[in-house]
Amino acid sequence: MSTTVQPPAAAPKHMNRLGYTIADYKGADSTLCAGCGHDAITSQIIKAFYEYGVEPYRVAKLSGIGCSSKTPAYFLNMSHGLNGVHGRMPSLGTGVMLANRTLISIGVSGDGDTASIGMGQFVHLLRRNIPMIYLIENNGVYGLTKGQFSATADYGSKAKSGVVNQLPAIDLCAMAIDLGCNFVCRSFAGDPKQLVALLKAALGHRGTSLFDVISPCVTFNNHDGSTKSYKYAKDHEELLHEISFVPFFEQINVEYQEGEAIDVELHDGSHIRLRKTDKGYDPTNKGEALDTLRNCQESSEFLTGLIYINESKPDFLTLLNMVDAPLATLPQERVQPSAEDLTEIMAALM
C-alpha cells in the first residue's frame, strides 16, 4: 500500500498552517498541584490543536466541575469556554453543538464528573453520537473534594487513608463502545506522543470521540497501593500499537507491509496509522475491542491506544437533517414563517 508523496506546505517554522504560534493555543496559568496529570494533558491538547491547525475561534471548550474540569481555562484562550455544573457537561455540549454545528467542541471531565454524578448524561451523549472530543482525566478519585474514591477506582485500590475500595471499577471505554461510540481510546498523561496523535485523529473524526486518559492525582492518589499512580501506570502500560497521524493537508508516502499496520481514513481525509505490536490488534473490530477490554479488566492490564474506531456511522447532527449554517445565527427571515403561513394555520383552526 502507498499514498502519494507531497512535501508539507511551506510555513514559518514556529507557526502552524493557519499562521498561529503555539502561544496562541495556550490559556491562563494553571492553579493545579505541581505534577498533576491534568496539566500534562493540557499541554498535549495545546500541542495537538496547534499542530493540526485548528481555528481557535471555532472551538468551544466545555467542562463540568472538578480539578480536571478547571483545565479548559488553561488552554485555548482564544476559544469560548463553558464550565457548567457538576456532571452535566454532556447536555450543555449537546446544546452548543445543536446551536452551532460548525463548532469544534472539546469537553474535559473527571472520573467523578463523568462516572458518578454524570453517568446518565454521559450514556446519552454517547448514544446520540454528539460530535465532541470527550476527554476524561481519570485519576480514580475526586481531586477537588480531597480524595474520595470515584466509580473508576479499581477494585482493591488503596486510598491514602488505607481504606480499600471494594466496588468494581466502571470501564468507561467498554461502556462507550457498547453504547455506539465510534472512536474510543485510552491513554496516559505520561505518554504525550500517543495522546497527541490520538487527539489529532479525533479532530478528524465526526461524532463523539471518547478519551479515557489515566491522569494521576499527585496529591490524593499517587501513593503505593493506588492503581492510578504514575508508577503503577508506567509499570503496567501495554501499548496496543504505535500510532502515527497524517493530517489531510499532508500527504506522505510511507510504504508499509500489508498486515504490518492498519491505516484508517478519517472523516476529514486525514489518516491514522496503527502499527501493530505483537498483539496484532484490530481496532475496527467491535467484538475484539470489547473482548480485549474485558480480558484486561480481569488481568488488571492497563492497555493504551485506539481501542475502537468506525468511520461509517452518522453523527446526531446529520441525523437531524439541519441546515448547514449554524442555527444560532440564522437571520429572522429564515426562522420566522410568513404572514401567509400564519393565515393558513389560523384558517385550519377555524
Binding site: P56, H80, P90, L92, L98, G120, H124, Q332, M350
Partner: protein
C-alpha cells in the same frame, strides 16, 4: 385535543328563569377531565355554552349525559334539583333522584342495530347521544352534520356510519321524548364568527415557531408534552428550507436536567432555545437554572403546571409552582416569569419570551397550566408579529473591531445587562470563559469579596430593569369600586364572570388587575393604593403570588392584601370566587 373515550359527557348551561339559550356559533368551552391513566378509568368532558361568552369552568352541571356505570350514581347525586339527565337506560339513573328530568336511552342496543363490531359500537354510542342531545337542545341538524363531515374529513365510510348514529339518536329522542320540558335550548348566534379553536400548548408552540426558536429540547411529561409535540409538527411543516433541511432541532432529552442543560448550552451558543415541562421537571432543573442566572445564559422554560407537590395529580390543574420558578435554585436568585391567560397570550407571550431571554441573558419562565395548555379555547386568530427580533446585546465582529476588547460582565449601559459574544465569532478578543463560580467583569475566576458583591448587585439591577420590559398588566378600574381583584393566568376567566355576578347580584363593583409577569411593574403599587382591599385570587394552597406581592410593596399597603385560594385540582369557577369574596367582605364589616 383528542377526545379520549369520554365516558360521561356533561353539558351544562346557565339556567335562566326565562329558559336558557345556546349553540350554533355561540361561545362554548370544553374541558376534559381525565385520569392519569391510559385507558379504562372514568373520564368526564364538560362543555359550557352560553350566550354571554363565559368560558370558565362552572361547578354546577345543568345537563348530564351519564354513560359510565362507575360514576353515574355520584354524578347524578351531585346535581342541583330540576336538572336534566340523559343516560344509558341500563344504568337506571332515575332510581337515585325524584327531582330531576330523566331521559333514558338504550344506547348500546341502538348501536348494536347499526354495527356488529363491538369496538365500533362503543364509539357509535357516543354519536347516538350526540344526536339525542341535539334533538333535546334543538341544535340545528344541518350544523351537526356539517361538523361531523368536517371531523371525519375524507373518510366517507366513517361519515356514513356516524351520520347513521346521529340520526338514530335524534330519531329515538324525537319519538320518545317531549323536548318542551327541557329548560335549555340552542339558538343561532353570530358570536363565534372568524374565531379559531386551539389549545394553549399548540398556541404557545406557534408563538415559539414565529419567534424563530431554533433549538427546543424536552422530556415528556403531562400536561406539557403536547407543547413540544405540536411544535415538532408545525416546524416540520413551516420550518423546512427549500433544500429540505430543517432550520431547527427538536430533541427529546433523556430527562429534564438534560433538557434544560441542552437549552442553556444552545442559548449560550446563540440559539433561540427553549424547553417545556411541568412541576417535577422544574424541581429537577433547579441547579441548571441557577447556572443560567449566575453565568447569564438565555433560554425559555415553559411550565405547564399540574397539581403538586411531587407527582401529585398529573392530569389536574393548578398554579402552584410560582415560588419554585421565581426563586429557582439555591443562593440568591430571582427569575422573570411571564403569565399568559388565554391562548392568544400563549402565542404572544411565548413570542415575547425569546426577546426577553436574549435581552436579559437569563432563563425566562412562562407559566401556563393544564387547563390552558391542554383544553380547547376559542380565540380571535393570532396576529402576525411584525416586530424585528430583539437579539439582545451580542457583539459582532465589526463591533469588536471597533471596541478592541469587551468586558463580559461589565455594566456599560447602567441597566445591569452586560454584553456577550457568541462562540464562533471570528475575532481574537471575542472569546471569554463562562463559569458558575465567582467571576469578575472580565469573566476571570475571582473569589474577591468586592468582585462577588459587585456582580450580585449588578444582577439585582438587571432584575429591576426587567420591570420595565416584561408584559404589562391588564387593568380595569370599575366605577365606584372600593376593592379590587388581582389574578393571573387561567383564573382570569372565572374572575371576569365573578365580577359580573358581584355587580349584578350584590351590586358590588370590583376593579381588576391582571398580572402578566414577575417582577411586578410599578403600576401594581398604584393599583393597590387606590383600593381598600385587594383580593389576590389564585389556584394554590399557600397563596404564593399573594406572598410575592406582599414582599414587593411598601409595608403600609400589605394590610390591604387578601388572599382567595382554590386548590382542589379543578379549574377555579366564578361562583367560588363570588362566594369567597362575599364572605370575606362580610367579615370585614364586623
Amino acid at each position: 385535543m383528542s377526545y379520549k373515550s369520554p365516558q360521561t359527557l356533561v353539558v351544562e348551561e346557565e339556567q335562566r328563569g326565562s329558559g336558557g339559550a345556546v349553540i350554533n356559533d355561540f361561545p362554548v368551552s370544553g374541558k376534559n377531565l381525565f385520569p392519569s391513566n391510559i385507558a379504562g378509568l372514568p373520564t368526564w368532558f364538560t362543555i359550557r355554552a352560553n350566550k354571554d361568552g363565559w368560558i370558565a369552568r362552572r361547578k354546577e352541571i345543568d345537563f348530564l349525559v351519564a354513560m359510565n356505570p362507575e360514576t353515574a350514581r355520584e354524578d347524578v347525586m351531585g346535581l342541583d334539583p330540576n336538572r336534566v339527565v340523559v343516560y344509558e337506560e341500563t344504568l337506571k339513573a332515575n332510581q337515585y333522584r325524584r327531582d330531576l328530568t330523566f331521559f333514558p336511552v338504550p344506547f348500546t342496543k341502538l348501536a348494536s342495530g347499526i354495527t356488529p363490531d363491538s369496538r365500533l359500537r362503543k364509539l357509535l354510542a357516543n354519536m347516538i347521544y350526540v344526536g339525542a342531545v341535539g334533538h333535546l337542545l334543538e341544535i340545528d341538524p344541518a350544523e351537526m352534520e356539517f361538523a361531523l363531515t368536517k371531523q371525519f374529513k375524507g373518510k366517507a365510510k366513517a361519515v356514513t356510519l356516524n351520520k347513521t348514529a346521529l340520526d338514530t339518536g335524534r330519531k329515538f329522542a324525537a319519538e320518545n321524548f317531549d323536548k318542551s320540558i327541557v329548560p335549555y335550548r340552542c339558538q343561532r348566534m353570530n358570536a363565534t364568527k372568524g374565531k379559531i379553536i386551539i389549545d394553549g400548548n399548540s398556541a404557545a408552540a406557534l408563538g415559539c415557531m414565529f419567534a424563530g426558536v431554533t433549538v427546543a429540547t424536552w422530556y415528556p411529561i403531562t400536561p406539557s408534552s403536547s407543547l413540544c409535540e405540536a411544535l415538532t409538527e408545525y416546524m416540520k411543516e413551516y420550518r423546512i428550507d427549500q433544500d429540505g433541511k430543517a432550520t431547527f432541532a427538536v430533541v427529546q432529552a433523556e430527562d429534564e436536567l438534560a433538557a434544560v442543560g441542552m437549552a442553556l448550552g444552545a442559548g449560550w451558543a446563540g440559539a433561540r432555545s427553549m424547553t417545556s415541562t411541568a412541576g417535577p421537571g422544574i424541581s429537577l432543573m433547579q441547579e441548571f437554572v441557577g447556572l443560567g442566572y449566575y453565568a447569564e445564559m438565555p433560554t425559555v422554560i415553559f411550565d405547564i403546571t399540574r397539581v403538586g407537590p411531587s407527582t401529585g395529580l398529573p392530569t389536574r390543574t393548578q398554579q402552584s409552582d410560582i415560588l419554585s420558578m421565581v426563586y429557582c435554585s439555591h443562593g440568591d436568585t430571582k427569575h422573570i416569569v411571564l403569565i399568559p391567560a388565554s391562548v392568544e397570550e400563549c402565542f404572544e407571550i411565548a413570542y415575547a419570551a425569546f426577546d426577553l431571554a436574549e435581552r436579559f441573558q437569563t432563563p425566562i419562565f412562562v407559566l401556563s397550566d393544564l387547563d390552558l395548555g391542554m383544553n380547547n379555547w376559542m380565540s380571535d386568530p393570532f396576529k402576525y408579529p411584525v416586530k424585528k427580533f430583539d437579539r439582545g446585546k451580542v457583539l459582532s465582529v465589526e463591533e469588536l473591531k471597533r471596541l478592541g476588547s469587551f468586558q463580559r460582565y461589565g455594566d456599560v449601559d447602567g441597566d445591569g445587562i452586560p454584553y456577550r459574544t457568541l462562540p464562533g465569532t471570528k475575532h481574537p478578543a471575542a472569546a471569554y470563559f463562562t463559569r458558575g463560580s465567582g467571576h469578575n467583569e472580565n469573566a476571570a475566576y475571582s473569589e474577591r469579596p468586592d468582585d462577588y458583591q459587585r456582580n450580585m448587585d449588578r444582577l439585582n439591577k438587571k432584575y429591576e430593569t426587567a420591570r420595565q420590559h416584561v408584559p404589562k398588566p391588564e387593568i380595569a378600574h370599575a366605577e365606584g369600586a372600593k376593592i379590587g381583584f388581582l389574578a393571573f393566568g387561567t383564573t382570569h376567566w372565572a374572575i371576569i364572570e365573578s365580577r359580573d355576578q358581584l355587580a349584578r347580584e350584590y351590586n358590588l363593583p370590583i376593579s381588576y388587575y391582571r398580572l402578566r409577569a414577575v417582577p411586578f411593574t410599578k403600576d401594581l403599587v398604584e393599583f393597590i393604593e387606590k383600593y381598600d382591599r385587594v383580593y389576590v385570587v389564585e389556584q394554590n394552597r399557600d397563596g404564593q403570588m399573594a406572598g410575592l406581592i406582599k414582599l414587593d410593596i411598601p409595608a403600609h399597603l400589605v394590610g390591604r392584601i387578601r388572599s382567595i385560594r382554590h386548590y382542589n385540582g379543578l379549574p377555579i369557577d366564578a361562583r367560588f370566587i363570588t362566594d369567597e369574596l362575599v364572605a370575606a367582605e362580610k367579615g370585614e364589616e364586623n
